[in-house]
Symmetry: C2
Subunit: 425 residues, 2 copies
């Protein structure tokens, strides 16, 4: 934990630095995996599952029977929670649907956009200790709303060759069309290249370890789009004298428990609030099952005292956090000043967990400073916006001269002629 | 020119193939250029200008004096045309501005999105024979509308060290904040890394040759976003018996004149229309100054006769053209079936040139089949959509149980605790 009192602006560049991700090392491994999957398809995936997941599989396909059984083994309580979250996520993402708005830019020249779902999308859900069924909701719900016709999901099996039932339940609930047992870079390779069982897709979504991240980048060489570049998860909490140290500590810890590379930043205008928050962290962390990871993350965290909330927001804009919690009284006042952030949580009761699971916003957000140039996942991530234009004969007459003059000035005679020949007719 | 009569569906995969772009060769050159620009900044740019543009420069900065002089040397007629185009482009892109829509997903749980312009963007405009001031309009107007605070433009100088006046005029008219004389991969490197004169930016837009395209891809390794992946320009024209062969020929030629690698496809349900279109092409091409390039492009073009317009649209969806012209009578009928295209031109008077210059739609569009998973440039390309949420104490009470159950099922106790600790208070 690093504590900074009134850090100078010229120190900020140092403070906003993220850990450097080593890419070079894995790139050869990724290229090899893609080559293997391209050559041997499903067979390659089964061999990798044996190697990396210690699972003996006959097929990568998850059967309808497995999905039905999963439905039976998820508790009614969890099902109800997942359904409630689904409702809210659906409601918020439905509000992102844009109607068709026809604009007559010049008389009888009419332009508009229409959205079309990307036909085939792939969702990757990591395995490991935490079964991230919440990410299934976040990535499948907008895909279905967007009208994507093929929504496939790949996730690694456990040692017995099974997928966590909550993942299967969420997937079928949210319109995933096919589920496959495949993990890591090889799953990304399969969704990029296609195998006998797994169709290739046009865009790949979802989190993962450094191999998955590198594989998604590599997939772009094959013309596949990805949701966004990735990095470790982050939270920046800004607290004034009305913040509640217990709550701040809990929010910082909920970020820290993600992993030892999680980024945690706390900025306050109030020394007492900061001291109490640190004290609270030291108390609360003891009770956490994942306290080892949380402690490692906290060891690298920054706690800052600044003079004004304006300065805190300025720093946040330079850092560009994935999650920004404004635990301040007059949060409305600071909203217009927020320029770079993935998702913003306002007041003392908007904890990050709300957005992580169930409030309705998407939890797939730009990390690593990418909030400066990328948005989080939304309905937009699943559609292409196609422009349309209709010009009547009169419409072209109204605009023709303008086009002819510009085309000529650019030295593109055929462009000009496409207008002239019509005007002459 | 390849002519296909009623091609079988199993031949389509062959017909939609794009020319393969050789990437490998240039990647070492790009890496070297980035290293050079990182090390020597402006000095490297001046040396490259000498080498590649045969221009002796003292500075890469375009002075206000040069911009003012450019204004004087552009004809009033061209100025008026540029202003008219600017009006239409502004009107259409303004219509893409999304208002704030607050959604109460659960009682007292309120979620919304707000747009923020990407703070620093860079526009690349190629040099060469055609001064692409129209691309300045297409890339700077939405940047200004989005509220990007720094909008820089790089373009190579001619041998005398000058920039085409129409480019300078359009840039200052559309809110470009700074203009630099730098071309090719080195300009992209400068906008990525920054030099003494050129600020680094968060997103780079604009067309270019294979070096520029490769440099934009390479820039992503430094966390810079780009507008979209690139390839040669394309048009697909669908014509029924009501199409006008003269117009179709003119549209195909206006695409073909872009360059020898331009992709041109013509599909008709009417043999006579196709034959007359080919005849018209042979007549019209004679009068074109760029007929050498156009002929090379046409040599690789496909002309197809199909049985129905539905089949033509199906083929188009598989090809995913940058530009799709529906020169058919009942074009409305086919709009819902269009799934993959960059921009669509409807009827006999909506020529591609209209959208290239002045109707209001953006002409920076996905090529090379990327219309399957990417949209063209729009206002969206210049903003981040930040999600916000406010939960009152009661709001968290209403949703808390759902969050707690899900967090627990994912094994993330600290996430659960961030809710529990608030509900207990």
């Amino acid at each position: 934990m690093f504590i900074h009192r009134y850090p100078q602006k010229n120190k900020w560049a140092e403070l906003v630095k993220r850990p450097i991700l080593k890419k070079e090392k894995v790139s050869e491994i990724i290229a090899e995996i893609f080559k293997e999957v391209e050559k041997n398809g499903d067979e390659a995936l089964l061999t990798y599952s044996q190697k990396f997941d210690s699972a003996e599989l006959n097929t990568v396909i998850v059967s309808q029977n497995e999905i039905d059984e999963a439905g039976n083994s998820v508790s009614d309580e969890l099902k109800a929670a997942i359904q409630k979250a689904k409702e809210n996520i659906t409601q918020f993402h439905t509000s992102q649907q844009a109607g068709i708005q026809k604009i007559e830019t010049t008389q009888e020249v009419i332009c508009w956009r229409e959205n079309r779902g990307i036909e085939k999308v792939g969702i990757y859900i990591p395995g490991g200790t935490a079964p991230l069924f919440s990410t299934v909701l976040m990535l499948a719900i907008p895909a279905q709303l967007a009208g994507c016709s093929e929504i496939i999901l790949c996730t690694p099996p456990d040692k017995k060759g099974n997928i966590n039932p909550a993942i299967l339940y969420a997937a079928q609930l949210c319109g995933v069309t096919r589920i496959f047992k495949a993990g890591g870079a090889q799953a990304v390779a399969a969704m990029t290249l296609g195998t006998e069982s797994i169709p290739n897709v046009y865009k790949i979504f979802g989190p993962g370890n450094q191999y998955v991240v590198a594989a998604k980048e590599y997939a772009q060489n094959y013309g596949v789009a990805i949701d966004m570049p990735a990095g470790p998860s982050e939270v920046l909490v800004i607290a004034d004298e009305k913040a509640v140290p217990e709550f701040c500590a809990a929010d910082l810890l909920s970020q820290a428990e993600h992993g030892s590379d999680s980024q945690v930043i706390f900025i306050s205008t109030d020394l007492k609030i900061m001291e109490e928050t640190i004290e609270e962290i030291n108390q609360q962390i003891k009770k956490l099952p994942r306290n080892g990871m949380a402690q490692q993350s906290l060891d690298n965290s920054h706690f800052m005292i600044v003079k004004t909330l304006e300065e805190a927001v300025d720093f946040s804009n330079v850092y560009a956090p994935e999650h920004l919690i404004l635990a301040v009284k007059d949060f409305e006042k600071y909203i217009p000043s927020i320029r770079n952030a993935g998702s913003v949580f306002l007041g003392n009761y908007a904890c990050e967990s709300a957005g992580d699971y169930a409030s309705g916003t998407n939890h797939t957000l730009p990390t690593n400073g990418f909030a400066k140039n990328y948005s989080g996942v939304s309905l937009d991530s699943y559609v292409k916006k196609i422009t349309f234009q209709y010009l009547s004969k009169q419409g072209l007459k109204n605009l023709g001269k303008t086009i002819e003059i510009m085309a000529e000035a650019e030295g593109l005679s055929a462009h000009k002629n496409a207008v002239s020949i019509r005007l002459k007719k």
